[in-house]
Symmetry: C2
Subunit: 156 residues, 2 copies
């Protein structure tokens, strides 16, 4: 029971909220707690209104409505934070949608996490390769600078 309960936060990136996995999936009618307007959410998460509407268009968010105005519940806030975290480490919106689907799908919780772990692991490798290339470029310039300094030293 305890493990099942912990899975309300499938990626381990809590938002400080406390809805269960069930609430998370049945988000449109979640009865709990605070609601955010698009402006509030944008300010709090440092994104633009356009970005929030764009994620909705891509099926990553699904806020309920009050007339035409969007209202975001705790579940949507959690999704947004996951989206932003995965974006910052270089995932595309398509990959993020897949990962959200994995995270919130039925089936074995440990298996879902292992799947996500593998994806992030691969991304870490990509980022480390990039960093190594950048460090190599730096080293090349430093070598050039050192050669130059030797040249200057010789001419002085």
């Amino acid at each position: 029971m305890k493990p099942e309960f912990r899975s309300l936060d499938p990626l381990g990136w809590g938002t400080g909220t406390s809805e269960t996995l069930a609430t998370l999936i049945a988000t449109p009618v979640a009865a709990d707690g605070r609601l955010w307007t698009i402006g509030e959410l944008a300010r709090e998460c440092a994104v633009t209104l356009r970005a929030l509407r764009f994620y909705e268009g891509k099926g990553l968010l699904a806020p309920r409505r009050d007339g035409t105005a969007r209202l975001y519940g705790a579940a949507e806030v959690w999704r947004l934070k996951v989206i932003l975290r995965l974006k910052r480490i270089g995932f595309s919106l398509i990959a993020i949608r897949e990962m959200l689907e994995i995270a919130l799908s039925g089936g074995d919780v440990a298996e879902r996490k292992a799947l996500l772990r593998r994806r992030i692991e691969r991304q870490v490798e990509v980022l480390e390769l990039q960093r190594d290339e950048a460090v190599a470029a730096l080293a090349a310039i430093d070598e050039e600078l050192a050669a130059l300094t030797v040249g200057v030293g010789q001419s002085a």
Copy 2:
């Protein structure tokens, strides 16, 4: 004299070619050595024809022509390799054009290199931040997995 000569490769990323800085700048009429067709260059550098034409449209490359066909000299090949290296570590084409301009501008060679060094240094920091975030995400998932395993252990 030596230092000035070394600056024919302002980023320290040789191509195995040996044209001087002057040749590099006066590239359209470089009289030396091999010429590449767009197809040859694309194969050798693992880019598409479209990418090469796109870089040209953006002012990053300026091959000479044989009728309508493009011909790339050693200087263009050098530029392309720099472009691809900087792209791989996350620079935009606009930033790359600026860096090429710095690299090939007149003025103090050491100063030009220091400018480029600072840019790449900043990019290394960006990449390291990204990687740290990704590693943190991994750690979070691992914590979740560990908690799950403990839960399973307790229920067994």
